[in-house]
């Protein structure tokens, strides 16, 4: 089949997920699901000196959602909180190799970003800070 949707990079992260598992001492744990297909993504973050010190994800769902979650953990690792809060839909799609996703499947790809942002915002909320935007 043509791999417009399932780019090799997506299959690779789906088959061999990086940063999958649990953090014992996470600062924040966020979880959300896509009611349409039941994709579930949990992301745990640990921060130090305004940077992401560690991050892990867990989840169940389609290749797109799980690969996206795994790649996102790699993207944010070591980054400034500020930078993570500014990650966009475009950044995620770029990392996934710009797969040809329709309006339904794009929700699978973007669920992890939503959970990641929830994590960052709840950490900032706990510490009484607001991101610039």
């Amino acid at each position: 089949m043509s791999s417009d949707m399932y780019k090799e990079i997506i299959l690779d992260y789906y088959r061999n997920p990086r940063n999958k598992g649990k953090l014992e001492d996470a600062d924040v744990t966020e979880k959300d699901s896509n009611p349409l297909c039941g994709d579930v993504v949990q992301i745990q973050l640990k921060f130090r000196d305004n940077k992401v010190k560690d991050v892990k994800f867990e989840g169940e769902g389609c290749a797109i959602s799980q690969a996206s979650a795994s790649m996102l953990t790699e993207i944010v690792m070591g980054k400034e909180i500020e930078e993570v809060s500014k990650l966009s839909k475009e950044d995620v799609l770029e990392a996934l190799g710009r797969p040809n996703l329709g309006p339904v499947r794009i929700k699978c790809a973007l669920l992890p970003l939503k959970v990641m942002k929830m994590g960052v915002y709840s950490f900032l909320g706990q510490n009484g800070k607001q991101p610039d935007d």
Binding site: S2, Y14, N16, L36, C37, G38, V40, E60, G61, I64
Partner: protein
């Protein structure tokens, strides 16, 4: 026997290529394709006699009114309803059930009354009742299902009268699907409605997955209400049917207010139109109702017994093929005679959405997800499933293509 090749020529969309492959359309439980004559009927209406019905007296309006009302007769005869007044046109099955819940439920039920549904219901036969229950303080119970996908009152297809009676004890209304859109199970609604009637329980049958695919006879079923949609049976979207016993419709208050549903309107109050128009407020979906009549004629011409046999045959074949395959989990009864023409399954380690996207690349359209039946998936502790559903234009060759694509998908996603 069905002449499938001839039938296929009546459906323009079946010529379509998807991603360079011949379309295999296996998402009929979601909506069916439409034959050319149904599409032409829409065009003819708009080009030749488009006008509003039941109002004006000019030629166009009379032709449109006559064509629209003729469909009411066709629907009544299709499901063996003796009285055309028992047929109310709605937008879809969901709206039909909402009408029952609001109008009948809202006027006949009282705080504390009990509604019985089943775990295998489509959301459309759960959510309207939950809304009503919340508003009125009603209780909702659910008939459980077995691992094999039968209601526990009819495991293996045989109804256990005493168990049903004990479950119906104290129940005011029973809402039950005739055929499940996921496990496919055909519930013994004829026998169930008979017992419910003896016990004074009002019955609502969701026939969205049965009327399009098999003979349904409401006079024999003796249900109080039955609902289905035109778009799943070769007709256009936007037309639903509510069958109700006329004496119930007479007693029920209107659901929506406006034009057409009244006989007199004064600034101080109004009188309702006669049934069924009392429940058809505003301008109807005239063109689509008329085209639905053409779809009914098309199915009648084939004969519903023949439609049913064709689907049993395809389902038996699909079950055989899937059972032989490695890593496939099937849901629902294994006897094709006990199920509607659809198969829900999971291919181990491949998420249904990935499978559906992969098959789409092969030109094969299936459904993936929870099929508007989340409670059923939770019951089986399954996140989601894939579903192939068949109709008159599908063939065993298409099931072979589907099976070959499944094998390819399994290898593609394997770690």
């Amino acid at each position: 026997v069905l002449n499938v090749e001839k039938i296929r020529r009546d459906f323009p969309v079946l010529d379509r290529k998807v991603h360079g492959k011949q379309l295999v359309y296996f998402d009929n439980a979601a909506t069916s394709q439409k034959p050319k004559i149904v599409i032409e009927s829409l065009r003819k209406y708009y080009e030749y006699y488009n006008s509003n019905i039941h109002r004006s007296v000019h030629t166009l309006a009379e032709e449109a009114t006559e064509a629209h009302e003729l469909v009411r007769d066709k629907v009544a005869s299709f499901i063996k309803a003796g009285d055309r007044k028992s047929i109310v046109f709605t937008r879809n099955t969901t709206e039909s059930i909402n009408l029952i819940a609001n109008s009948w439920g809202g006027s006949k039920l009282k705080r504390g009354d009990k509604i019985l549904l089943t775990v295998m219901e489509h959301h459309s036969n759960i959510v309207p009742w939950q809304l009503l229950a919340k508003k009125m303080g009603l209780k909702i119970d659910y008939l459980p299902i077995t691992q094999a996908g039968y209601l526990d009152i009819s495991e293996g297809g045989r109804l256990e009268d005493d168990l049903l009676k004990s479950r119906l004890n104290g129940v005011k209304l029973l809402g039950i699907g005739h055929a499940s859109n996921v496990v496919g199970t055909i519930n013994p609604v004829y026998e169930i409605c008979k017992i419910a009637k003896e016990m004074g329980v009002t019955t609502v049958v969701d026939a969205a997955q049965s009327v399009p695919h098999m003979p349904v006879d409401v006079s024999k079923m003796d249900c109080d209400f039955l609902a289905f949609s035109a778009h799943k049976m070769l007709g256009p979207t936007g037309v639903g049917v509510l069958y109700a016993k006329p004496e119930l419709l007479e007693e029920m208050p209107p659901f929506l207010g406006g034009g057409e549903m009244i006989s007199e309107v004064h600034l101080t109050g109004s009188k309702w139109n006669d049934i069924p128009l009392k429940f058809e407020a505003g301008t109807s979906n005239i063109a689509d109702v008329i085209a639905f009549g053409v779809a009914i004629d098309y199915l009648k011409n084939i004969r519903m017994e023949v439609v049913r046999n064709h689907e049993v045959d395809l389902t038996r074949y699909a079950l055989e093929v899937l059972l032989e395959m490695k890593d496939v989990n099937l849901y629902g009864p294994l006897k094709s005679e006990h199920r509607a023409g659809l198969v829900a399954f999971n291919l181990a380690k491949v998420h249904p959405h990935d499978l559906a996207s992969y098959l789409d690349q092969e030109g094969i359209a299936i459904r993936s997800g929870q099929h508007c039946a989340q409670p059923l998936h939770e019951w089986f502790s399954v996140q989601a499933s894939s579903r192939a559903s068949f109709y008159i234009y599908n063939t065993k060759q298409e099931i072979d293509l589907f099976a070959a694509a499944l094998q390819k998908a399994r290898r593609f996603f394997a770690a």
